[in-house]
């Protein structure tokens, strides 16, 4: 858990800290491993060497002591082998001279009393009945050839020891004894300089320390115990029963390697310091550009202009910095462009005459421009688009929001009753946005106020209609005139025959006259009512159109003018035509205009054909003439308003333009094929729509 936390903490550190840690770990861990290896290796080696050295030293010293004592016993043996008369003072003195450690030489009798004595320091006068042996020595003296006394002190506090050997003289077991000064041996052992705090000590057979380099430990009872903090060896001096011990405290044994270890630590610390410096430099070397770039990024994020990173390097970081500088420059430029675009767009969006709105696929309006806001009241903004804009309760038919797959021309006219009570016409188009963010408006709705445009269009249509009527006026007059003349003739004839009684005038004859008058009156009425109907100014009214009837009505309007020019009209109407949806009067106006144009193009006695047939989903109406035709140059302009080839007073130039507008309104097409001198064929295709009955009504 702790390690995991530590790792997480480490991972959260900046790169320079990681580089530092990496450098330090990489430099110190191998060094510590190597140091530890050598430390343990050298430690073991050192122990072996110390023990070897101690063993050697103990051997030398113990053999020295052993040799010294053996030598003394040898000297005593030699002395004992002397004949009685030879054991004079000179022999005694010689013994003293031979061995500097001997303080005193005595010869004892069979009871252990001193017979003769020669001393190095004192007078050679034995005390009376001086018992030289201690009890223990005396006991040993009876059985052994070499007798060792205890370590004791003389009156000057010097450590001394008695040695004796027995010899037989004249049947008596006598003894030769010496007092040996131990100070030289002890002093030598004690004062021998030892390296590294090693120390030597010597214990007698009772376990008393008789020599120690630390004099405060002298004459204490001691047992050699294996102390863990001490490295040591012991050796026993045979016969004498002494034990010599050499020990060295662990802390001094390991002092050299501890020093080495300290030096190692110093090296580690120094290396860590140097590596840290290098790592910090390396860390900064690597991270400074990143930090600069991060700062630059933050500046960019905050919308400020970052100062360029002045890093002249040829490595990846240098290239990164350069790329960042270029990127930020480009971003700045693009931001500026974007601002400009935005400004333009704002001007356009706010200044455009159209209303704009963003609509989600759930029909919610998320944004609208001020123009549209002005058209709507504020509380309505919560409503779905079809209610808010179209005033409907359900989405519009074929709305691209509902059916994104359907190809929609994207145009729909609708009327809205605004506050002023005035009905206005709006055209709205819906565009799917490819890069929209979900729920922020995936569709743009463009709403245009087309009320005035529609009014103008209506006016032009009416103008065109009246113009056509004007042009047809003489024909109409002529058409009306004929029945009127007929009526007049019948009426005058009847009047004359009534005035001059005529028997032949019976009821049947009279009925015939009256029926003729009625028939011609009906004809006049039909002509005028047809004319009135055509000239009526109407708005676009939706109804089911019987194509046949409409064509007949249209022909009846132009028939007289055709007759006048003796033009032959050939009508070919297919049976069982489907009903069309639209304004029949407007379709009539199209046909009248087209036939009038054909009439004008055709020479006298020419031919005009009207063909109506049903195609798949379409009803096509063809107006064919064998007139002068239209040149290719003119063909491109003929739908332009006020473009006319007719002489002044013959046409307004609005006819075909109005036809185009009406056919567009029907959702159909109008095409003209013409060859100069051969004739012209105008093909109008009106789509068949299955409107719901309610809508039609």
């Amino acid at each position: 858990m702790m390690i995991k936390r530590l790792i997480n903490w480490f991972l959260s550190q900046p790169i320079r800290i990681k580089v530092l840690a990496f450098g330090v770990i990489m430099s110190t861990i191998p060094l510590l491993f190597i140091s530890y290896y050598y430390y343990s290796h050298v430690k073991a080696d050192l122990e072996v060497r110390i023990l070897d050295k101690q063993e050697l030293m103990l051997q030398i010293l113990s053999s020295e002591i052993e040799m010294e004592f053996n030598q003394t016993f040898q000297q005593l043996q030699i002395f004992s082998s002397l004949k009685q008369h030879e054991k004079n003072k000179a022999a005694f003195y010689e013994l003293l001279q031979q061995n500097e450690s001997i303080e005193e030489v005595v010869v004892t009798d069979h009871k252990g009393f001193v017979e003769k004595k020669v001393s190095r320091y004192n007078l050679n006068m034995p005390e009376s009945n001086e018992q030289w042996f201690s009890d223990k020595m005396w006991l040993d003296f009876q059985t052994k050839n070499k007798v060792y006394g205890e370590v004791e002190f003389n009156r000057f506090g010097q450590p001394v020891m008695k040695l004796a050997i027995p010899y037989v003289e004249n049947g008596n077991r006598k003894g030769i004894g010496v007092i040996i000064q131990l100070q030289k041996t002890i002093g030598h052992i004690s004062s021998l300089r030892q390296e590294d705090s090693a120390y030597l000590y010597l214990m007698d057979r009772e376990g008393n320390v008789i020599a120690h380099q630390d004099y405060s430990k002298l004459w204490q009872k001691r047992t050699v115990e294996k102390d863990r903090n001490v490295l040591g060896l012991k050796t026993e001096i045979s016969d004498l029963g002494w034990t010599m011990v050499m020990e060295q405290p662990a802390e001094t044994i390991y002092e050299p390697i501890n020093n080495m270890f300290q030096n190692g630590l110093f090296a580690v610390a120094l290396v860590t310091l140097i590596v840290s410096l290098i790592s910090i430099y390396a860390g900064l070397y690597f991270t400074t550009p990143i930090i600069h770039i991060e700062k630059g990024m933050n500046h960019l994020k905050a919308g400020k202009r970052p100062s360029p990173i002045g890093l002249i390097r040829h490595d990846e970081l240098g290239k990164l910095s350069q790329a960042f500088n270029e990127m930020s420059e480009e971003l700045q430029e693009k931001s500026l462009r974007l601002e400009q675009e935005k400004e333009r767009l704002n001007v356009v969006v706010n200044g455009i005459g159209a209303g704009l709105a963003l609509v989600t696929k759930n029909y919610n309006v998320t944004w609208m421009n001020p123009r549209l806001s002005n058209w709507l009241s504020n509380e309505e903004i919560q409503l779905p688009c079809y209610t808010l804009i179209g005033g409907k309760n359900v989405p519009c038919e074929n709305c691209p929001i509902t059916c994104p797959d359907i190809e929609w021309k994207g145009e729909m006219i609708m009327s809205m009753n605004r506050d002023g009570g005035e009905d206005k016409l709006f055209r709205h188009r819906v565009f799917a946005l490819n890069h929209a963010i979900q729920d922020e408006g995936e569709f743009l709705v463009v709403i245009e106020d087309v009320t005035k445009q529609k009014q103008w269009e209506e006016k032009i249509i009416q103008t065109d209609k009246l113009s056509a009527l004007g042009l047809m006026a003489s024909s109409f007059a002529h058409e009306v005139n004929n029945p009127l003349a007929t009526i007049n003739a019948y009426a005058e004839d009847l009047s004359d025959r009534l005035a001059s009684p005529d028997d032949e005038l019976d009821m049947t004859e009279m009925s015939l006259y009256l029926s003729k008058i009625k028939e011609n009156t009906e004809r006049c009425k039909r002509i005028t009512s047809n004319l009135l109907n055509f000239s009526r100014k109407t708005n676009w009214t939706l109804s089911q159109i019987d194509v046949n009837k409409t064509i007949q009505n249209s022909i009846s309007l132009v028939e007289s003018s055709l007759k006048k020019k003796q033009i032959q009209l050939k009508i070919k109407i297919a049976e069982e035509l489907p009903l069309l949806l639209g304004d029949s009067l407007k379709l009539m106006q199209v046909l009248v205009n087209l036939i009038n144009n054909a009439r004008d193009a055709v020479e006298e006695t020419g031919e005009i054909g009207v063909e109506v047939k049903a195609e798949e989903n379409f009803v096509s109406i063809l107006v064919i003439d064998n007139g002068c035709g239209i040149s290719k140059e003119r063909l491109g302009k003929i739908f332009d308003p006020f473009y006319t080839t007719k002489p002044v007073g013959k046409g307004t130039g609005l006819g075909l333009s109005v036809c185009y507008g009406i056919v567009e309104e029907f959702g159909g097409t109008i095409e003209i094929e013409s060859k100069v001198g051969i004739g012209t064929t105008v093909k109008v295709r009106i789509p068949v729509r299955n409107k719901k009955r309610e809508e039609v009504q």
Partner: protein, 333 residues
């Protein structure tokens, strides 16, 4: 900020380790040993001391000697002691009794605590330098050259060497405590041995005249320890030759100068033996714990040339154990 702290701590650690290493390396500075001597006669002790230390494993650079020599001028000794104490040595080696007593006084007066090794003092306990032979108890320890205790033995040996001597004139210095103590020892021994002794005080300016007036046939001269007596060796030798009196001294150089014999430890041996004490104290022992030692070796030296000059007979028993003066020069090498 973290980085700064890191560097601060790291630098402190490095410097600490460096300083620690530096001091542990410089711990082994030479041991400073002060040496105090009354005059050039003691130089042999210094030679012995140096040789002893070398044999104990101390190379020359291990010990730094600060030697102060009073050139046989007791008045100068105090100045030399003051100079030495100012140097604050780790240890002082005194090469004789006079120096030791004077140093003890100065150290007590100035309340200075430095371990002192005396390389041969005749009666350290009796003169109050130490409390006890086995545990000296103070700052002083060293070698009891036993010249006081040996005085009686020397009388016995002298008597055995020259059996014809009837009376022993004993030269002592009344102003020197050791000398007086030696006289007491000699008187005791004379009583035990039933010998006649005649003490003469050398601090008496007319001792020589008095002595010469008091001479008889078969008289001999026994010299007791005392620095004044030691400085009178030449005069005593001439006196010996003049009046044909055998003289028993203490040191080999006295025999070289013209004494018949000497019995005692040599200056060289005392210095050599003192090296052990220096080593023990260097190794951390307290002088209070280190027992005072008797001399390792006592030499009996005879000058056969003087025997011939004096025309006396010597005991052959003793002649066997004596070092002769010709051998002495070899022995001291």
């Amino acid at each position: 900020m973290k980085t700064k702290w890191y560097f601060f701590i790291l630098t402190v650690v490095t410097v600490s380790v460096f300083i620690n290493n530096y001091f542990s390396v410089h711990e082994n500075t030479p041991f400073k040993v002060g040496v105090l001597m009354i005059g050039d006669s003691r130089l042999e002790k210094l030679t012995g001391l140096k040789k002893g230390l070398k044999e104990l494993g101390y190379e020359e650079d291990a010990i730094d000697f600060e030697v102060k020599n009073a050139k046989d001028n007791q008045g100068l000794l105090d100045n030399k002691i003051n100079e030495l104490l100012k140097k604050k040595p780790d240890l002082i080696v005194t090469l004789g009794g006079v120096e030791t007593i004077a140093l003890k006084e100065k150290m007590e007066e100035q309340k200075i605590r430095i371990p002192v090794v005396f390389a041969g003092v005749a009666a350290p306990k009796e003169t109050g330098i130490i409390e006890d032979y086995r545990s000296p108890g103070g700052l002083f320890t060293g070698i009891n050259n036993f010249h006081t205790g040996l005085a009686g033995k020397r009388l016995e040996l002298f008597h055995e060497l020259v059996p014809s001597v009837q009376r022993f004139h004993v030269l002592y210095d009344k102003d020197v405590e050791v000398s007086v103590l030696s006289l007491e020892n000699t008187i005791e021994a004379a009583a035990d041995l039933s010998l006649q002794i005649l003490p003469t005080n050398v601090s008496d300016a007319e001792f020589e005249a008095k002595l010469s007036q008091n001479l008889q046939k078969n008289d001999a001269l026994l010299i007791l320890p005392g620095f004044r007596i030691e400085s009178l060796i030449k005069e005593i030798s001439q006196f010996s030759k003049k009046y044909k009196i055998p003289v028993m001294g203490i040191y080999g150089d006295e025999v070289e100068e013209g004494f018949l014999a000497s019995y005692g430890t040599s200056f060289f041996d005392q210095g050599y033996q003192a090296a052990r004490y220096v080593s023990l104290i260097i190794q951390g022992n307290s002088p209070a714990d280190i027992p005072v030692e008797l001399p390792d070796s006592i030499r009996f030296i005879v000058n056969p040339k003087i025997k011939d000059e004096l025309g006396i007979e010597l005991n052959n028993d003793l002649m066997d154990i004596a070092d002769f003066i010709d051998d002495e020069s070899e022995a001291s090498q």
